[in-house]
């Protein structure tokens, strides 16, 4: 009798195991095809080199060595690192300020603000870049308009010196509202009792922000930072599209991704391109991991 029940219990557990895998396996099958297989294939490709003479041959880590000594690669990596160091803090600070303003309850028409600041997220990078690119332009853009109207000549946002900042502005415009919503969502679930306690203690609005709200959004900020780090290292769409409007300012090795792309599709150096992509993947993972670690450690030390 008892063994019968146990057998039934085993059967039951096995069945639930199958059901669990049954729900997850369609996702995993496609995931393996479009995530794991390409990663494995890229690793494989990066160890070979296709030569005009001698054909495809195993070269070990030569492609990686080449990347480490490649000034174009370093120039691209330096550019996105600078982008990361400036654009991400600016964007997240703006997003944080907007989220705090929304949550303060002191805004007229807060609902409208929330949705309107978020709207650019729904605009494709292609449209955002073309739109800003036209506005930057001197022909029928706002910069040209201002030059004509005021009889001055503003610095050209599409010049080689300023184009990275101009791209930073486009990316900020696209994602500030999205990050604002992530931070705002974290503020919304702060328990009311905390605010009550703060009020009893006679804490002013500034103290409420520093003692309650900022600690409450730390987790959301870490998530937003990690996503922004990934986004910065992957920078491709905006420079690639802006290239047609600013051909002299944007090189083929403007970012690591545009470099990997042009190596692969213009230069037909698939193997070297795969190595560059893998190095960038590793750099991204390490930095994203460090951000997370640091974010969590500061949280723990409180």
């Amino acid at each position: 009798m008892a063994s019968d029940a146990r057998r039934r219990g085993n059967w039951y557990r096995r069945r639930r195991l199958l059901v669990g895998w049954g729900f997850v396996s369609p996702f995993l099958a496609v995931f393996a095809l479009v995530f794991l297989a390409p990663i494995a294939y890229a690793l494989y490709l990066s160890l070979f080199r296709d030569r005009l003479v001698g054909g495809n041959s195993f070269v070990g880590l030569d492609n990686y060595r080449q990347a480490m000594a490649d000034p174009h690669f370093w120039s691209a990596l330096g550019r996105v690192s600078l982008f990361l160091a400036v654009q991400v803090p600016v964007m997240l600070a703006l997003a944080l300020l907007a989220a705090l303003a929304l949550d303060s309850g002191r805004l007229h028409g807060a609902g409208f603000f929330r949705i309107a600041i978020f709207l650019p997220y729904a605009v494709p990078a292609v449209v955002a870049t073309l739109m800003w690119g036209f506005m930057y332009g001197s022909r029928f853009g706002l910069v040209g308009n201002l030059d004509d109207a005021l009889g001055i000549s503003l610095p050209d946002p599409l010049s080689p010196e300023l184009v990275l900042a101009s791209i930073g502005n486009i990316v900020t415009w696209e994602f500030v509202g999205y990050n604002m919503l992530i931070i705002y969502s974290a503020l919304r679930v702060v328990p009311a009792s905390l605010y009550e306690a703060a009020e009893l203690d006679g804490a002013g609005p500034v103290r409420v922000v520093t003692a309650i709200k900022l600690p409450a959004v730390r987790g959301a900020l870490v998530v937003a930072t990690v996503f922004s780090v990934i986004g910065s290292f992957q920078l491709f769409n905006e420079p690639a599209i802006l290239q047609s409007l600013a051909p002299n300012a944007i090189t083929t090795y403007f970012t690591p991704n545009t470099y990997a792309y042009s190596l692969s599709f213009s230069g037909r150096q698939h193997n070297y391109s795969a190595a560059v992509a893998i190095v960038m993947g590793l750099v991204t993972i390490v930095i994203a991991y460090l951000v997370q670690l640091r974010g969590l450690r500061t949280e723990g030390s409180r």
Binding site: P38, H108, P120, V126
Partner: protein
């Protein structure tokens, strides 16, 4: 039993799903007895942010009403003498034998199959991970969440080479298949299912001898609705706005989505012998963003609560 199970679940975990109670709770804060007064100053300062986000969109709307000549002759943030929006729309739709409509249909195809499929896989997978404690579950989560950090664009070149081996490049499948996986969607559904579907409810259904699939379809799916709308909306944005993947996968303009088509029209101006059609690029850009903006505005309630569910936990 139902109510008990539900309240048990909300006791077990915060349920950020219901935005309504959250709002009520908030207005009952004693903090709000001395309710902060609305501040015109803060509104004005935040208004600067609003100007920043809305000026480019206003520029797009205004300039979609101008002819090519009007673009060059008039001030960017005001209308030209002749407003030719209707002509521009007609020209956009008719240009090059109506290729814009073809691109629109392609985009819809990629969204319906790509984003729709991605949502279905994410819902099934997230539900499976949240509700069934099977061996290997932790490993699955670790691998999928780790994959989020891998730059998607870094995968694109090897994916292209793989797909070209099996003859998938330059077909719609090359765009649809990679769109089917949304690690973020899976993550969101996993969190959401854990919060929205009480395990007690599933146990009760099992005791009654209801099959797992039937339980999923009849009981769980309705509870998951706000999460599903959120994931669907965000995968739709990702697919609708996708540029890099179709750029490398497609050579034939007949399979282009709107994003690639716009880029191609813009590029025409600098190709030798190409016709500059800036007014059409601008009008087509406007037409491209309208459906998504409308979707976000109409479905606000759903995705804002769904997004809240995903972001409060890391």
């Amino acid at each position: 039993m139902n109510a008990a199970a539900l309240s048990g679940a909300s006791g077990r975990r915060r349920r950020p799903v219901d935005a309504e109670p959250a709002r009520l709770r908030r207005s009952r804060r004693p903090y709000s007895r001395s309710r902060p007064r609305r501040s015109p100053l803060l509104t004005a300062v935040t208004g600067l942010g609003l100007v920043y986000t809305l000026v480019p969109l206003a520029w797009l709307v205004i300039n979609a009403t101008k002819s090519q000549q009007g673009l060059f002759d008039s001030f960017g943030l005001w209308f030209a003498d002749d407003v030719v929006l209707v002509d521009n729309i007609r020209d956009t739709l008719g240009y090059d034998d109506g290729i814009f409509l073809r691109w629109l249909l392609n985009t819809l195809l990629y969204v319906v199959l790509g984003a729709g499929g991605a949502t279905a896989l994410a819902v099934l997978g997230g539900y499976g991970l949240a509700m069934f404690d099977f061996p290997g579950r932790r490993a699955v989560l670790a691998v999928v969440l780790g994959a989020v950090a891998v730059p998607g664009t870094a995968l694109a070149v090897p994916t292209f080479l793989m797909f070209s081996r099996i003859g998938l490049t330059n077909t719609p499948w090359a765009v649809i298949v990679p769109s089917l996986v949304s690690p973020f969607g899976l993550y969101l559904m996993w969190i959401f299912a854990g919060d929205a579907v009480p395990t007690e409810l599933l146990e009760a259904a099992r005791v009654d001898g209801v099959g797992e699939v039937r339980t999923f379809l009849r009981i769980s799916l309705p509870l998951l609705a706000p999460g599903i709308v959120t994931v669907l909306l965000f995968t739709t944005v990702a697919t609708w706005n996708n540029y890099f993947l179709p750029l490398i996968m497609l050579k034939n303009p007949d399979w282009y989505p709107l994003t690639l088509g716009l880029d191609a029209w813009n590029d025409q101006a600098r190709t030798a012998g190409g016709e500059a059609v800036f007014n059409l690029v601008i009008t087509a850009s406007l037409l491209t963003i309208l459906p998504l903006i409308a979707a976000f505005l109409l479905l606000q309630r759903f995705w804002q609560s769904g997004l809240a569910a995903g972001s409060v936990k890391e």
